[in-house]
């Protein structure tokens, strides 16, 4: 029963977002991908399929991040601002069902965006003679996980602060989450234990987005150990679930005014 309602809410959230034409961005990226691929075949010697793959995966990641950041921040804000949330939760719809439905609807949008760009990237790469291997698919899966995690970070923050601030802070958390691994290896930091201490704390508390970034492995054909993959995957899923339950917990207690 509640599952039905979650699906109904996610369906209409999806519809509303689709009709707001955000996926035009996906299509534009797709077209850009084809143009870049064409240019690459004309001008690069040796590895045009790598260019297509590199560009495609980069754009896939960037557009997912963009959708999570901007759509995620306004997901609740718009509902409360236009008082549609009042219409919905004045029906037999508990708050956790509402918020789960909203988030799921947006996750479907992310999936669609990733799906379209995956097909286009792989097609371009394949036509140019590139191979489609497990690492590529793995990287895309992790990309999806990254954007879901980011989406949950934004939604979580938007429960306390306004949506612009939530976007900015989430973006910062994302960038730091990617940079932290390299930062720890800088000599300057290694020589200063107190900075290391702060970084360790950060490392422990905030999401380590770098764990979900497999693009370099794909591009440079490095091999991935199963342990690493499983560990990172579990990390992403657990962190996401933790945020998700926090969101439900806080949203249940939030004053909607």
């Amino acid at each position: 029963m509640m599952l039905d309602k979650i699906l109904i809410i996610s369906k209409y959230t999806f519809k509303e977002l689709i009709k707001s034409r955000i996926l035009y961005v996906t299509l534009i990226i797709g077209i850009a991908l084809m143009v870049v691929t064409y240019v690459a075949t004309e001008f690069t010697y040796g590895v045009p399929e790598k260019v297509a793959l590199d560009f495609g995966l980069g754009m896939l990641s960037l557009s997912s991040v963009g959708i999570s950041l901007f759509m995620g921040a306004s997901l609740l804000f718009k509902e409360i601002d236009s008082r549609t949330v009042y219409m919905v939760i004045s029906r037999p719809v508990p708050r956790w069902v509402f918020i789960t439905g909203k988030i799921t609807g947006l996750i479907f949008i992310l999936l669609l965006n990733i799906g379209i760009l995956t097909v286009m990237t792989l097609t371009c790469s394949y036509l140019l003679g590139g191979e489609i291997n497990q690492a590529i698919l793995m990287s895309i899966l992790f990309n999806f996980l990254e954007s879901v995690l980011l989406l949950l970070v934004v939604v979580f923050l938007s429960l306390f602060i306004n949506n612009t601030l939530a976007t900015i802070i989430s973006l910062t958390v994302l960038l730091l989450g990617h940079a932290i691994k390299d930062t720890k290896n800088i000599l300057f930091v290694q020589q200063r234990p107190y900075i290391q201490y702060v970084l360790d704390l950060y490392h422990f508390v905030l999401p380590n987005f770098y764990k979900l970034n497999l693009k370099d492995y794909v591009i440079y054909n490095q091999t991935l150990s199963l342990d690493f993959l499983l560990g990172s995957f579990a990390y992403g899923v657990c962190y996401s679930l933790f945020l998700f339950f926090m969101i439900i917990f806080l949203f249940n207690r939030k004053n909607l005014d």
Partner: protein
Amino acid sequence: MLKFENITKIFKPEFFNQPFVALSDVSFEIPSGSMVGFLGANGAGKTTSLKIIMDFIRADKGLVTFSSELGEKRNDVFRNIGFLPERPYFYPNLTGREFLTFMGQISELSSDQIKAGIAKWASRFKIDHALERPLRTYSKGMLQRIGFLATILHEPKLIILDEPLSGLDPIGRKELKDVIVEVHREGKTVFFSSHIVPDIEEICDRVVFLKEGKLVYDGPVDKLLRSGQEIDYVIKFKTDKKINLQSTIKSHQTFPGQLHSITVTESNKKLILKELMALDVDLSGIDLIKPSLEEIFYHIKAN
């Protein structure tokens, strides 16, 4: 149907602001089958009260209880309530039909029930021509109507409306009031807020009156009307003579065509009528002036 007991709501200060008492110890009751108007000036606390009833925000003190005819569990209670927020604005890219279908589905209606409900009401609300259009193309009045349609689609037993008539033109108000009266006649309990006193006077049997977060009145409309000042009468007549009455009158106006209109108190009415008869005027009417809620509204405001 609904009990609102000893509710106090204090908005906590943000940084250096003072805490603000939006509702202080407010109690009232919505009896089953009644049509209750919720009256109060801007900022009196109407929307805050409705949000507390709907559990969107929580009161600092007090209790809201729904009677068991709505159901025992929270879900059953809310399935039997229809709520329309003030100035509603819905998903702009969904069409009217999609929005209504969505609202029907989360209210646990079957698709046949939804179709039948839309078919029944859309033409009444004159939005049937726009159902396939996205809501962003709807005018304010159309949004208000489709919002009301969504509110009654699942045939709730208790209908709660926050300023349903605001933003509508006179014809739109009339139509919406007619529908409210109609669903009320079908046995639904209605509770709606408004600052437009004549609207409430016209269709409600009870009124809850808030002023600056405090309850001023909760009871039948006519009792509130009678609780006003003394009842006055207007006497209209025609004469070409000069009028010089012995008894005191409250006011005297003359109009073209030798028409006179005087206002007298209940106790003076008989004496003055005798005098007028003696003067042999052409009497054209006597009317009772009921103090309108409007007057009481401002009267209570002034005190």
